[in-house]
């Protein structure tokens, strides 16, 4: 089960949100387990990958980390396509990044798959003294828009693992219940070699739910 080359699914994620909210730092914390206080600006897009296990299944996450500055939006929109999960990030110490969530959400709704699982993330939770958006406000926004919600710190790593894994868990449930069609690449999911017990042939009954045979 532990081999990197054996996995049941590949799931595509996209990380979006204003510039400077900590998207790249979250990705780095998740993939490398470290924090780089002065991270390079993201120009265009960055990319990372990691394996997680959900309900005993190995899942490879392919994560697209996009540039947050307004100008780059016309470019980053093309990455929404085929993302099964989206992490929408704001900075709890900067109110404007919270205010801009509506525009980000509109973008996501317009360009991503309708079933994309969206996780709202209030990042920089370690900076309690500078907090400008309360936990309750974040939670309320998520609720009103049908999003998952978590506060994280890319610095202390608080909730970082959880945010990525919980999103994967939800996507996995959607696969199980047939909401995501794993044979349709536009849904952001691919079957891995493990899924068919080593053979890469797709199995016909896969979207019946729980059809994975080990």
């Amino acid at each position: 089960m532990s081999s990197s080359f054996n996995y049941d699914y590949i799931i595509k994620y996209i990380i979006i949100g204003d510039t400077g909210v900590g998207k790249s730092c979250l990705l780095l914390q998740f993939t490398d387990k470290r924090f780089q206080p002065a991270h390079d600006l993201t120009i265009g897009v960055e990319f990372g990958a990691r394996f997680v296990s959900v309900a005993g299944k190995q899942i490879k996450l392919q994560i697209w980390d996009t540039a947050g500055q307004e100008s780059f939006r016309s470019i980053t929109r093309s990455y929404y396509r085929g993302a099964a999960g989206a992490l929408l990030v704001y900075d709890i110490t900067r109110r404007d990044t919270f205010k801009h969530l509506t525009t980000w959400l509109e973008d996501a709704r317009q360009h991503a798959n309708a079933n994309t699982t969206i996780m709202l993330i209030g990042n920089k939770s370690d900076l309690e003294s500078k907090r400008a958006v309360t936990y309750e406000e974040g939670e309320a926004f998520a609720k009103a828009n049908g999003l998952f919600f978590m506060e994280t710190s890319a610095k202390t790593s608080a909730n970082v693992e959880e945010a990525f894994v919980e999103t994967a868990t939800n996507i996995y449930e959607k696969i199980q219940s047939g909401i995501f069609d794993i044979h349709n690449e536009a849904h952001g999911i691919k079957i891995g070699p493990m899924h068919t017990g080593g053979s890469s042939l797709p199995i016909g009954a896969a979207n019946g739910g729980g059809a994975c045979c080990q």
Binding site: T31, A38, V45, R50, S74
Partner: protein
Amino acid sequence: MNQGQDLSGTGSSIGKSGSTGSSVSIISEIERKKVIRKQKFSRENELKWIHAVTRLQVDTVKKSSKYKKLVRRGLPTSVRGRVWLFLAKADSYRQPGLFEELCKRGPLPIHEVIERDIHRCYPDHVHFRDGMGGTGQQDLHSILKAYAHYKPSVGYCQGMGRLVGMMLMQMPVEDAFWLLVATIEGYMQDYYTPSLRQLRVDAQVFERLLKEQDPPLASHLEKNDVIPLMYMTQWFMTLYTMSLPWASVLRVWDVFYFDGVKALFRVGLAILQLSRDHLLSKCPSSSELLAYILHIPLETLAPKQLLETALQIKLRKQSVQKLIAVTAESMDAAATTSKKSASVHGALASAPSSSKATAAAAAIGTKNSSDNSQNSDTQQSTASSPPVSSSSSAVGSTSFSPLGVFKTRKRAGTLHK
């Protein structure tokens, strides 16, 4: 002001060969002669550039095949900044006293964004880091803020900071400001405007050129949904300062100021050419492709290889310009007919149907020529050390760890251990 770095390519390579030991005296004699020849060449080279900068017209220099050859061998460190300013015609933009005046103007909303970005421009470079007491960050700051006043229609766009940082390593702050002005105006119009229009045009042109130069690679990338915008955004918007070994960045800039944007296409195509075997044989899906293209091992992009490969790609300036113009035109047309121009994929898919653009593409030869390959640029190739930095954590090489995680690697602006 600009004590931050001295990328003395010549100096350090001389130092190296001098210390090879005394085991075989014939070899050391040959070495010694080589060194002397190099020193002589670099002194002459320096004098030729000083002559150009002080006595000649830019356009004359740019038309001269002698100078073209020289620029391709790399500008001497001692005059590099001056030659860039000269080639970019910075003096034709310069207005005495204006920079100082712009610096004194009040804050703009965009200044806040600049402020937040400053420490993320060259995080590994000691000259531009927080609390290092250097003036680097402050200068970077002043230039970007002044520029936002100077050109409100552009304001500030991420990526510009990388350019300014590079300029500041070669020249004093006011010169760097005017070089930025000249670079954006003379070479990169519409790259940094809010719509990034030119970049999107260039992405299509790039795709076209790649298709011609290397059909198998182009189709492999296309099949896996890897489009040029994904990787060339960083290349073009930062003029390669985030993607190449430092010594190569300098050499690319030398050629860029001489040849213009054409050089950016050539270098991009060269990068892919140098990576093609890996991309074709080891990267079966978009995941591997992007992981590699976004972090190409720097060893494969050393100045000699990169420049030689790039300069062998035959691109005629007029053809590139024409292709750019035609692509822009058809892109605008597509944008007005279908309101859905936001989708990059849509735009790309619709472009090839324009017969005009196809014809223009066909007009461009990408045959290899060998007339430029006698580049003897060892004098400032890998031996040249990048700017000083005391960061150690960022040193490493690109590799996929068992977890599929990217390791940090050396980039331009990072210390060579």
